[in-house]
């Protein structure tokens, strides 16, 4: 039909890029990429990135940004490590760390929706605040969680699947955090595409003014949005701390750019209004795979960030040109921050 659907398979371009890269690495580093263990390793290291990036897909889809999640990883991780190690609180430590993440996210939401700060500014502020708080409270110490793997918390959240002694070794190395993360990502895909909340997120990203006029409670939905992001960052912190059996204050720092890059590589619009969870998940795979792939192919680790940054830029230029040519012109005209960081708009 002439002016019909923009349909097709969700995330198709990025899935193709992923497959090409995979093929490339299988060719340049066959000993690593043709064995199953690199993939089971990914399953235990990628989940925190995927959780963060899927949450950010919602945030960026709503035309906002969250820069505070690295601090949530530090703060929630600290809450978890202290309660788990010093007080042996087990599952209560899990709940407390999740609650801490939700609370930080909720405060972000209030600052943005009720106080009216641009999300870029609000979460930049809370990023410093909670990261500082985690450092103050932990006194800069790290916490080693030796023996954690004997706890039910560890076994349920980040343990390995057990298919019995007869199963191939790699099958028994599939980690549970990958299973939990896959379930959460699938659920959040469903919500984004088929639930009222997901629809509201996309409409808000499209236009705050339209959303208000059609009866969406924009403030309430934004608070929910940032609370969700906080909760996911809290869970990522728990996975990360348990998997490493160690907490240290800087453990979230590496995720800021990689998570944002995964979302944008995946095809979610930097202007909001269009978001894809599937694209984001493949974006995470690409970001995660580059590191192992480049090193295994003989480049030094120093190249990893460079190549990630390059792919990030190419992807954004691609999406701008293909999906939103008129927006690209507008972006060139007033380089930078108009809608991407929400709310920095005059009242209608």
């Amino acid at each position: 039909m002439g002016r019909g659907t923009a349909g097709g398979i969700e995330g198709l371009p990025i899935i193709l890029v992923f497959l090409c890269l995979l093929g490339l690495f299988m060719y340049t580093a066959p000993s690593v990429f043709l064995s199953p263990f690199i993939y089971t390793t990914f399953l235990s290291t990628l989940p925190p990135l995927v959780l963060l990036a899927v949450g950010l897909t919602y945030v960026i889809g709503a035309g906002e940004i969250d820069l505070s999640f690295p601090a949530i990883i530090a703060f929630s991780g600290f809450v978890f490590a202290v309660l788990f190690k010093e007080y042996q609180l087990g599952w209560i430590a899990v709940i407390a760390a999740l609650a801490a993440g939700l609370l930080v996210g909720f405060v972000n939401g209030l600052l943005i929706a009720k106080v009216g700060l641009p999300s870029f500014i609000a979460t930049l502020g809370t990023q410093f605040f909670w990261a500082g708080m985690a450092t103050v409270l932990s006194g800069g110490k790290s916490y080693a969680l030796r023996g954690a793997e004997d706890s039910s918390v560890w076994q349920v959240l980040v343990g390995r699947l057990d298919f019995g002694a007869g199963a191939p070794l790699w099958l028994n190395q599939i980690s549970l955090q990958a299973v939990w993360t896959a379930l959460i990502a699938a659920f959040l895909w469903l919500v984004l595409n088929r639930h009222r909340f997901g629809e509201h997120v996309l409409f808000i990203g499209d236009s705050n003014a339209v959303s208000r006029v059609v009866g969406i409670d924009v403030d309430r939905e934004k608070i929910k949005l940032f609370t969700l992001m906080g909760g996911l960052a809290g869970l990522a912190a728990i996975f990360l701390t348990l998997e490493n059996k160690n907490f240290f204050g800087n453990q979230g720092q590496g995720y800021l750019l990689t998570a944002i890059a995964s979302v944008l590589i995946g095809g979610t619009s930097i202007f909001g209004g269009r978001a894809t969870v599937i694209g984001t998940v493949f974006g995470c795979f690409i970001i995660g795979m580059l590191e192992a792939g480049l090193v295994a192919s003989g480049l030094t680790g120093a190249w990893v960030r460079t190549v990630q940054g390059l792919i990030f830029l190419i992807a954004i230029i691609f999406y701008l040109t293909v999906e939103e040519p008129h927006r690209r012109a507008a972006l060139m005209a007033r380089f930078g921050f108009r809608r991407g960081f929400g709310r920095a708009k005059p009242a209608e």
Binding site: M1, G2, T5, A6, R196, F203, V210, V213, G215, G273
Partner: protein, 264 residues
């Protein structure tokens, strides 16, 4: 025009005015945007709201339709006072009041079927949307109420793919679908080509023929003069005149508004 089935339902009886504002004031900080507004909208009339840029027309209808809370004053819907603490767009929808804004009614990147239902989706009790049903109803509105046949527009088209007139048609068609008693239009013809303007004016007449009332904000005086039953003139936040179009020609009306501006 009888081919719009759900548009043929007459409003419920038992009240005199659909909306009445009494002593409504609205401040934005120190800007006094609405001053002591008294205004009633009767059943089945088209009220044209005119006035200079910044006169407060948009603010007035936003207060009327629950987008903005008034600073003070009272609002009656079907002769009953509404609790202003509760009044919202959603409640206005529930009370059969719909609004079509110039360029703020539809979300650009979203498909039409979502635009038809956003804010009142058909969901199960967990909030998941019945996509199939929404698409089917949207298709029916598109083909039958709005009359988009063979123009290459489907319920999956995004708003960005439509022309200005088509957008107004979609927004007005959506408003009519919800059996509203009052449809509010805020400058629906801005930036439209002449042919598209005619389409919109036809939509406005359809609103009246289907037994509903309409508040129509329009800067082009010839257009409102043509379709309105009554004209309300706003000047710096105040209602300064109510005019019956048959008592004043378009050119006299233009003179009147120019004189108002001179008095500033």
């Amino acid at each position: 025009m009888t081919e719009t089935p759900d548009a043929a339902v007459a409003p419920a009886a038992g009240f005199r005015d659909i909306v009445r504002l009494e002593g409504v004031q609205k401040y934005f900080g120190s800007i006094h945007a609405l001053r002591d507004i008294d205004l009633s909208i009767g059943r089945n009339e088209i009220v044209g709201l005119i006035g200079d840029n910044g006169a407060g027309k948009s603010t007035l209808i936003k207060v009327m339709t629950g987008v903005l809370a008034p600073t003070s004053g009272r609002i009656f819907i079907r002769d009953r006072a509404v609790d202003l603490g509760d009044y919202s767009v959603r409640m206005a929808h529930d009370l059969a009041i719909e609004t079509v804004y110039q360029d703020k009614s539809l979300a650009e990147k979203q498909p039409l079927w979502r635009n038809f239902f956003v804010g009142r989706q058909i969901t199960n009790r967990f909030g998941f949307i019945d996509i199939k049903r929404q698409k089917k109803i949207a298709e029916d509105i598109l083909l039958n109420s709005i009359g988009f046949r063979g123009v290459g527009i489907t319920v999956d088209s995004t708003v960005a793919q439509l022309s200005g007139g088509e957008r107004q048609g979609i927004a007005i068609g959506r408003a009519m679908h919800y059996n509203s008693d009052l449809i509010v239009l805020d400058e629906p013809t801005v930036a439209l080509a002449v042919k598209e303007v005619r389409k919109v004016l036809d939509f406005v007449r359809r609103i009246k023929e289907s037994g509903r009332a309409c508040v129509y904000i329009e800067h082009n005086l010839a257009h409102v003069h043509e379709v309105a039953d009554r004209l309300v003139v706003l000047d710096r936040g105040r209602v300064v005149a109510e005019i019956a179009p048959r008592d004043m020609s378009v050119s006299a009306l233009t003179e009147f508004l120019i004189d108002l501006q001179k008095a500033h």
